[in-house]
Amino acid sequence: MTGILTSGLEQGLVFSFMVLGVFITFRVLDFPDLTVDGSIVTGAAVTAMLLTNGWSPALATATGALAGFVAGTITGVLHVLLKSGSDATNYGPKLLAGILTMTALYSLNLRIMGFGTSATARSNVPLLGEPTLIESIENLLSIELTTWRLIAALAILALVVKLVLDWFLHTEVGLSMQATGDNEQMIKALGVNTTIVRIAGLGLANGLVALSGALVAQTQGFADIGMGIGTIVAGLAGVIIGEVLFGSRSVTWVLFSVIGGSVAYRLLIAGALRVEQIDPTDLRLLTAILVVIALAAPTVRRKVVRM
């Protein structure tokens, strides 16, 4: 039972940055961004590659996140090139821009992981024996990061990121970002270049996603090209579960809810995997079903009430 709890908590917190990123694209910018399946690997790949090349873990992690930021801005630029007209509810170009970046990142991530080795491309970078952020923290505080201490450290990092996001979304620029997703025409009419704001927001979101990737690589001990598959659905699951369980009364509050949703989702998955009939390979099917149930529940409830 503790196994479920600790692994759920750890995973939930490691992936909470990704879920915050998905929250920013889906909810704040109203931009269903599929880049994340690629950018989470980019964060892991860049960080792992830099670690094996002797970079300090903190710098490698930050650079991994920065690479995700760049990937997000590329999706933003592609969206500008692909869209015609200014209909904010036209999701086609938004989806396509994300899919294109995600696809391109697949090749790029293989290259990144092969960088500095004899191979041009690699699908996997093991971090065995490489110092990671975990060792950095252990050295810094002269303690051993046991399971619970690691969870505490991740919780503190999640809290710090949450507070920074909360502050940012309430600045003048942050309000413009919120308004870009809420009523683009209106904030444009107030003199905001929503194109730039959207590109920056996509960068910010994918930077967070890549930060998760960097942390995943360091906690599980490797970066892998397959680790990104289904990220967007898992992120959406975290956002929706968080909103349903903990509410979304204000931006300040919903940022907490979303982190809680990430943890709840991973606890649910960790629990489900204990069921004998469920195999780890079923995980993405389960997640998809979970998202469908969460999204369809309000509609079904309305229809049932009407009958």
Partner: protein, 280 residues
Amino acid sequence: MNAPPAEQPQHRPDNDGLLVTKMRKAFFPGTPNEVVALDRVDLLVHPGDFVTIIGSNGAGKSTLLNAIAGTFPVDRGSIIIAGRNVTREAEHTRARLVGRVFQDPRAGTAPSMSIEENLSMAMLRGQRRGLRRGVNGSRRREIQDQLSLLGMSLEDRVTAEVAKLSGGQRQAVSLLMATIAEPRLLLLDEHTAALDPKVAQTIMDLTGKIVMEKRLTTLMVTHNMELALRWGNRLVMMHQGRIVLDVGQEEKSGLEVADLVAKFHQVAGENLVVDRMLLD
């Protein structure tokens, strides 16, 4: 309906009004569906003028406002607002000079954000936005002062989501957002047409009050000829993308709806039958 402000507006010396010259805009150009929405429109609006614009459906009223605001580029001609040639400027760049209120009360506000967040964003019209707090103490006080002028008790609900407001309240907030930073030009596009009559009158009264107090150069498009006569100090009638009638304060004050209809038929000429149907 309340009497319109009769006083002659005082011209703001630091404001050069609006000058539209030989403006042309065609939609679907080069196709069989080509529509010339604006055809060599010339319009000089003095600072502080409150111009009402009428015309049948498709006359080009809304297209004129959209062209001035920069929703789309025009094919020919120039637009000068407050002495600045904005013809080639993007919509968001012109926004520093132009405030707008649309027919749909939902168009002018961000629904899931609070009243004070909406108004704070509006106070920064055309300014550089930075990493300072969006809603701060001094902005909140100013917002509450301005909201209290609406007489809707919204000043006690500044943290409420705009989506929770009624259509009239939302349009009042939109009006305040369009005017709070005192734009050089205010564009009203049938902004009371979607409201029920009593609320529409409240919003129109507020509009008149704000325009007078801030001496805003204003263009108001309306379908309602009575409104067009009652408000403002100048009346413009459009037809098929052109300005066909332009009367000043003096002549306008002697006009009635019946006169306008007659004028309209006179200038509309051969299209009289079609347009009478539209006007009725």
